[in-house]
Symmetry: C2
Subunit: 381 residues, 2 copies
């Protein structure tokens, strides 16, 4: 019988694990939130990932459990571990990805570089932090944020009163995270994979371009990163993965500050948008590596096929029709473009696919990837 991998969550990350699973002869099963999701090509069961009984029953059909997202509640994760299920990443690591306050605490304890931050319970505490940071800051809800949601730049202590009110009503201690507004030159992401027995393998650090908090474009490797920058980014991510006991792919989002420091922005413990370029640019894709890691199999080589790989997201998609209606045009004009279509209906702002292009001239590669994404109806290209 084949090795069976169970993925909780039916989005495009689960979907993109399918090709890697097919190649390696793994049996991939998905617990999806609803019918017809992006990962519908795998063996799909529909159920609520917040319900321990549902998830335990799903876990009985597989050899290891991993994730399309980080939202499975701790009590469900603990129930799995208590039942002897292999869960990767495990509850302790995921707790840090699930709570931004916990994340800042742990990273600070580890001596890793993060923006100045504080835990604030009310306007007064927030005002004190802002007063020390030029009257401005970034406030984040500790839980549930992604793609720019749950993040607000503030210039005064009364701009997140709605969040204070909401938090005072839940059980999370009623605190928000406030951070200094970092002056950064650009954003980077460092991906690594780590397996339970300890092996950690990085990819090259990449530059990410965000639009309104959503990833728009990734350049791999980050231009001008060879040497100190790459070494520092790698060291940070390896430290995080090892110290937190992350298993599977870990993405560390970084600011490259105007004064040449690297500061950790966010962590993600799963395949990540900033690693989609690996599908067509690296000997081992992040999806294959994630499966190898969660199965505690030796990790693959992460060298690049060409000097540059650029990924451009397709946000939104065509105003009329579907992505594949554009194939005659886009494939005809861009034979180098690798189109990834998540099988979702186009909708403004929605990630419906991406394009990868690899080559040795960065200008050409960027042009091809953006032009192909634009023909697919990307709002961002």
């Amino acid at each position: 019988m084949s090795i069976r991998v169970g993925v909780i969550g039916g989005g495009q990350l689960a979907r993109m694990m399918v090709p890697a699973a097919v190649n390696l002869g793994l049996d991939i099963r998905v617990l999806a939130e609803q019918e017809g999701m992006s990962a519908r090509l795998a063996t799909v069961e529909v159920g609520d990932y917040r319900d321990a009984d549902t998830v335990l029953a799903f876990a009985e059909t597989v050899d290891v459990i991993t994730f399309d997202h980080e939202h499975v509640p701790q009590h469900v994760l603990r129930a799995l571990v208590d039942a002897g299920v292999q869960v990767h990443p495990g509850p302790d690591a995921l707790a840090v990805a699930q709570d931004k306050l916990l994340m800042r605490e742990r990273l600070t304890e580890l001596g890793l570089p993060v923006p100045d931050w504080a835990r604030v319970h009310d306007q007064e505490e927030l005002a004190a932090f802002l007063a020390e940071h030029g009257g401005k800051g970034v406030v984040k809800t500790p839980r549930g944020g992604y793609d720019g949601k749950g993040v607000r730049v503030v210039h005064g202590p009364n701009e997140v009163d709605d969040w204070f009110t909401a938090l005072s009503e839940d059980a999370n201690g009623g605190a928000l995270l406030v951070e200094e507004l970092v002056s950064f030159r650009r954003e980077l992401a460092q991906l690594v994979a780590r397996r339970p027995s300890g092996e950690v393998v990085p990819w090259r650090v990449v530059e990410t371009v965000q639009l309104g908090g959503v990833c728009s474009e990734v350049i791999a490797p980050a231009p001008g990163s060879a040497g100190r920058l790459a070494d520092t980014a790698e060291e940070i991510a390896v430290t995080v993965a090892t110290a937190l006991g992350v298993t599977g792919v870990l993405a560390v989002e970084l600011f490259e500050t105007d004064d040449d420091r690297l500061l950790i922005n966010e962590l993600a413990m799963r395949p990540h948008n900033s690693g989609h370029w690996t599908q067509d640019g690296s000997v081992t894709s992040q999806f294959e590596q994630h499966l190898r890691a969660v199965l505690d199999l030796p990790l693959g080589w992460t060298g690049c096929h060409r000097d540059w790989t650029v990924m451009v997201n397709v946000l939104g998609g065509p105003a009329e029709g579907t992505l594949d209606d554009r194939y005659p045009q886009v494939l005809g004009a861009h034979p180098l473009a690798k189109v990834h279509n998540y099988g979702k209906d186009p909708r403004p702002g929605r990630k419906v696919g991406h394009v990868n292009v690899a080559g040795d001239d960065l200008d050409d590669v960027v042009y091809e990837a953006r032009a192909a994404a634009a023909l697919l109806g990307a709002e961002n290209a």
Copy 2:
């Protein structure tokens, strides 16, 4: 709704179309011969491809029909076309792949280089051919042969009496194909894809190594082929694809003779073992290109990631256990190896998977690929 591709046949070629279909957001459906076949990860229906009603009903669920093998009978193919189904490759092209006598006739009419051949109905005609060719030859049954089956080297006219007897009982005219025994330096394969509107795109010509009529190893591109050899091979395959109206991937197996000629050995009108290297060595894999071609979408770039890619088949597999039992060892020792596991039970002589390795030093690449295949239990490595 997604574009739906129907594949007749549930073997590893159908299976390996799945990753390409996932990436492009195509819905792939397979009509398999039985439960649990290699392509079981796709949406699978089980049915007899020799039954027109079964195949017509399957065709109603998809937008185009293509194939994992070339054995669908002409009457079934014609019924599909008559019902208005898009069938690629079509019946006329497939007829040439299905009957080796018809193939030799058409290739000869087209003025393409083939070994000397004759249609022989009995011992006497065979004896006459052998007398003109040094007393030896290769006899082939016109239909149903593959992987060395239905092919016999003879040194006298009475060595295929069993086949003459069998043929006299069927409706195929009771003839066998006899060919000269070509003195060749090595075997090559030239793959191209052609789409209905006429575009044809080749990959680089490759060297194939056969063991007992079964493909064991492929080196891409064929060493020393740049220039005349590559141009000639490409010209032959483009001519065949265009003249026969092939749609999808066409593989032309070639002999490079001791006196420096290229002669056509066999044709295959589907993704082919000699093209598996493209999964990890070319910007566009043969499986993606086949899907694009049968949907009449513009074809992708077929450049290579690295100077060399080597594919080694895993014939047989481990004597005990399964392929994935060997993963800790093989993936640990060979981080560059891309393992493809068809999800079949190991059995002597059976193709159960393959390994691709790409790099810039041919000796290293060959070594890595063979060593990885050997650890997977390949009888041939």
